[in-house]
C-alpha cells in the first residue's frame, strides 16, 4: 500500500490529466485492505475450535485499535506520547462504573455503553493534553508518563474505584463457544472504525497540519498552523478509540484492577503502543496494525509456551533488538522502500540507493 505522506499520486496537483490510471491505482491500493478485512472477518471460522487462539486474537485486535489510535497523534505529529494507558484505563473504569452504578444488565446493553467510554476518554484527554502539550521532546514524553502515574495512583486510592481490589463487571452468561467470537467482532468493528479515522485524518488538511508540526513545529506555526489547537484535537481524537478499547478489554476480562500486569492502568501498555507503532512503521496506516499483530501475538504465544520463567522475556527482547537494528524505520516503510527500489531497478532506471529509501521515510 502506498501510504507515505505526500507521495500519493492521486492527490498531487499534476495528477489531473491522468485521472483514469490514478483511480485504478487507488482501487488497487484498496485491495490489500479488503483482503485483510476479509481474512480478519473469516478468522473465527478457522480458529473456532481453539479458544486459546481466539482469546489471543481478541487481545491482538484491542491492541490494533489502540496503536492505530495512538498513531493518529504520535505518528502524525511526532510527539511521542507514553501515557495512553490513561485513556485505556479510564475507558475500562468507565464501563465498570457505569455498569455498576446504573445497574446495567449484562449482555448487549453493557456493550452499548462502549461509545460512552470513548467520550469519557476524550473528555479526560482535553485537560491532560492542555498540560502535556506545553512541553516538547523528552519533557513531553516524561510528562505523559507522570500523568499516567497520577491516574494510576488515583484509581488505586480513590473510594469509588474500589481500591486495589478493582471492580467486577456484571457476569456475562454468554456461552464459551460464542464468548470469544462476539468480543472478536466487537473489537474488529472498533479496529475498522479507528483505521477509517486514521485514514481520514491522513488525507485531510488537518493531517497535513499535523505532519507539518512533526517536520518543524516553529515553521508550521509561522506558516499559520494553529499548533496548539491542532495538536490538542489530534490528542483527543487519538484518546477516544483507546478509551473504547479499554472498555472492551475490561468487559472481556470481567474484572479490572488499578495496578499490576494486565491491569487497567499498566505502564507496559504505554510502552507496548510505542513498540508496536515503531515496529510496524510510525506515521503509516498499516504499520501500527502490523506491529500490533506481530508483537501482541508473539508475546501471548511466548507467554503461553514458556510460562513465566523469564525465557520468553529474553526471546522477546532479543527479537525486538534484532528487528530495530535491521529495520530502524519499521517494517512497512522498510519493505515499501525495498519494493520501490526493486521496481525502479526492474524498469531500467538506476535509482540513487539512498534517495529511494529516504523518499519513503517522510
Amino acid at each position: 500500500m502506498s501510504e507515505q505522506p505526500g507521495t500519493d499520486p492521486a492527490t498531487a496537483p499534476g495528477a489531473r490529466p491522468h485521472a483514469q490510471p490514478a483511480t485504478r491505482r487507488r482501487v488497487l491500493a484498496l485491495l490489500p485492505a479488503v483482503v485483510a478485512l476479509a481474512v480478519a472477518a473469516l478468522f473465527p471460522l478457522g480458529a473456532n475450535s481453539n479458544q486459546g487462539d481466539m482469546s489471543i486474537a481478541v487481545f491482538v485486535l484491542i491492541y490494533m485499535a489502540s496503536v492505530s489510535a495512538w498513531n493518529i497523534f504520535s505518528g502524525y505529529s511526532g510527539y511521542l506520547a507514553l501515557g495512553h494507558a490513561v485513556f485505556f484505563g479510564s475507558g475500562a473504569y468507565a464501563i465498570a462504573l457505569m455498569a455498576r452504578d446504573w445497574h446495567v444488565p449484562a449482555g448487549w446493553s453493557t456493550v452499548a455503553l462502549l461509545p460512552l467510554c470513548g467520550v469519557v476518554a476524550g473528555l479526560i484527554a482535553i485537560p491532560v493534553g492542555l498540560v502535556a502539550l506545553r512541553t516538547r521532546r523528552h519533557t513531553f514524553v516524561v510528562v505523559t508518563i507522570a500523568i499516567f502515574f497520577i491516574f494510576q495512583t488515583l484509581a488505586t486510592n480513590l473510594a469509588f474505584t474500589g481500591g486495589t481490589g478493582g471492580i467486577q463487571l456484571p457476569y456475562l452468561s454468554w456461552l464459551v463457544s460464542v464468548y470469544n467470537e462476539r468480543f472478536y467482532y466487537i473489537a474488529l468493528v472498533l479496529v475498522v472504525l479507528t483505521v477509517a479515522l486514521s485514514w481520514a485524518v491522513r488525507r485531510s488538511r488537518f493531517g497535513l497540519q499535523l505532519m507539518a508540526i512533526r517536520d518543524d513545529e516553529d515553521r508550521a506555526r509561522g506558516m499559520g498552523v494553529r499548533t496548539l489547537r491542532v495538536k490538542l484535537s489530534a490528542f483527543v481524537l487519538s484518546a477516544i478509540p483507546v478509551g473504547i478499547a479499554g472498555g472492551i478489554y475490561a468487559y472481556f476480562l470481567g474484572s479490572i484492577y488499578p495496578a499490576g500486569s494486565g491491569s487497567a492502568f499498566d505502564p507496559l501498555f504505554d510502552i507496548a503502543l510505542a513498540l508496536m507503532g515503531f515496529l510496524g512503521g510510525i506515521g503509516t496506516i498499516s504499520g501500527p496494525l502490523l506491529g500490533a499483530l506481530v508483537l501482541e501475538a508473539l508475546q501471548e504465544k511466548l507467554t503461553q509456551t514458556f510460562s513465566t520463567d523469564g525465557l520468553y522475556l529474553i526471546i522477546y527482547g532479543a527479537l525486538f533488538l534484532v528487528v530495530i537494528l535491521l529495520m530502524p524505520r519499521g517494517i512497512v516503510p522498510t519493505v515499501a522502500g525495498r519494493l520501490r527500489q526493486w521496481r525502479e531497478q526492474r524498469s531500467g532506471r538506476t535509482p540513487e540507493p539512498a534517495a529511494g529509501v529516504a523518499g519513503v521515510a517522510r
Binding site: G78, Y79, L80, L82, V131, R134, T135, R136, R137, H138, T139, V141, V142, V143, I145, A146, I147, F149, I150, T153, T156, N157, I213, D216, E217, D218, P267, L268, I271, A274, L275, F278, I282, T308, D309, G310, L311, Y312, L313, I314, I315, Y316, G317, A318, F320, L321, I324, L325, P328
Partner: protein, 294 residues
C-alpha cells in the same frame, strides 16, 4: 503531626534522597550526554543489586568491597549499550529509538534475572544493614548513612570529572555541539561511550544501596523508573547537582505526605511536582538548556 515526626521525615528524606540521587545520576548523565532516555535505568539498578547479592551470598564479599567488581561490570554493560546500539542510531530519531532499545535491554535484563533468581523478593544482608546510630530522639540506620556518604562522594567525583578535567570538557563540548567538538579534536564517540559506561557504572553502586535498603525482585525496575525520571526532569537533564537536589526535595516531600496523610499518596508527590515545575520552568529546576526545539 508532631514536630519530631516532621524532623524524622526530613532526615529520612535527605538520606533516602541520597540513594535516589545515586540511582538517578546515571540516568541524568546519559540523558544529557546522549540525548536519550534510558528506560532500562530501573532494570539496571536491580541488576546492580543482584550482582551485589551474588557476590555477598555466594562469595562472601562485603557489599561495599564488592562494588569494586560490580561497578566495572556495569561500566562494561554501559559501553556495550553505547557501542553496540546507541551509536548506530541516526541523530534525527535518536530519542524515540533509544526508548525502544533501552526498553528491550530492560526486558532482557528482567528475563535473565527471572531465569536465574525467580520472582521471589530478595534482600541484601550485612552487619550494618540492621544497626543504627542513635542521635537525640532519632535512629539513623547505618546503611542509609553509608549510602548517603557514598552518594555524596560519587556524585562529587562525577562533578569534578565533569567540570575540572579535560575529559569533562570534551564531554560538555560534545553535548553542546557534536560537530564543533569533532572539529576541535574531541573524540566524540569515545567520550560518549565512556560517559554512558560511567553512568551505568554509578547506577550499579546505586543498585547496591537500593538492594540493601529495600527488598527487590526482577521486575522492581518498573516501579523505580518513573520516580527516577521525575527526579531527573525536575533537576534538569544532564545536571548532576540538580539530580541530587531534586531527589532530596522530592523524597522529603514524599515522606512528609506519607507521615501527615497516607503512605499510598506519597508517590503522587513525584508526579505532581513535575507537572507543577514544568508548567513554569520547562527546562527543570537546574537545567539551563532550552528544550523548546522539537
Amino acid at each position: 503531626m508532631s514536630f519530631d515526626a516532621l524532623v524524622e521525615a526530613i532526615i529520612d528524606g535527605v538520606l533516602t534522597g541520597g540513594v535516589y540521587a545515586l540511582m538517578a545520576a546515571g540516568l541524568s548523565l546519559i540523558f544529557g550526554v546522549m540525548d536519550i532516555i534510558n528506560i532500562a535505568q530501573g532494570a539496571m539498578v536491580i541488576l546492580g543489586a543482584y550482582l551485589s547479592y551474588v557476590l555477598s551470598v555466594h562469595l562472601g564479599i562485603d557489599l561495599f568491597l564488592g562494588l569494586l567488581i560490580t561497578v566495572p561490570a556495569m561500566f562494561g554493560l554501559g559501553v556495550l549499550l553505547e557501542w553496540g546500539f546507541m551509536r548506530r542510531l541516526r541523530e534525527a530519531d535518536r530519542t524515540s529509538m533509544s526508548i525502544l532499545i533501552t526498553y528491550a535491554f530492560a526486558i532482557i535484563i528482567e528475563g535473565v534475572l527471572t531465569l536465574l533468581f525467580g520472582t521471589d523478593y530478595d534482600e541484601l544482608n550485612a552487619p550494618y544493614i540492621n544497626s543504627s546510630v542513635h542521635i537525640l530522639n532519632f535512629y539513623l540506620p547505618d546503611i542509609y548513612l553509608f549510602g548517603f556518604l557514598m552518594a555524596v562522594v560519587l556524585l562529587g567525583g562525577l562533578y569534578v570529572m565533569f567540570f575540572r578535567t579535560k575529559f569533562g570538557r570534551g564531554l560538555r563540548a560534545s553535548l553542546q555541539n557534536r560537530t564543533a567538538a569533532d572539529l576541535i579534536g574531541v573524540n566524540v564517540n569515545r567520550t560518549r561511550m565512556l560517559a554512558v559506561g560511567i553512568g551505568v557504572g554509578v547506577t550499579g553502586a546505586g543498585g547496591m544501596v537500593y538492594g540493601a535498603t529495600t527488598a527487590f525482585n526482577p521486575d522492581s525496575g518498573y516501579d523505580l523508573i518513573s520516580r527516577l525520571l521525575a527526579i531527573v526532569i525536575l533537576g534538569g537533564m544532564g545536571s548532576i547537582g540538580g539530580a541530587m537536589a531534586s531527589a532530596v526535595l522530592l523524597l522529603i516531600a514524599a515522606d512528609i505526605v506519607a507521615v501527615a496523610w497516607e503512605p499510598t499518596w506519597s508517590i503522587l508527590v513525584f508526579f505532581a511536582a513535575i507537572l507543577l515545575v514544568l508548567s513554569f520552568r520547562p527546562q527543570g529546576l537546574f537545567g539551563a538548556r532550552a528544550v523548546r526545539a522539537q
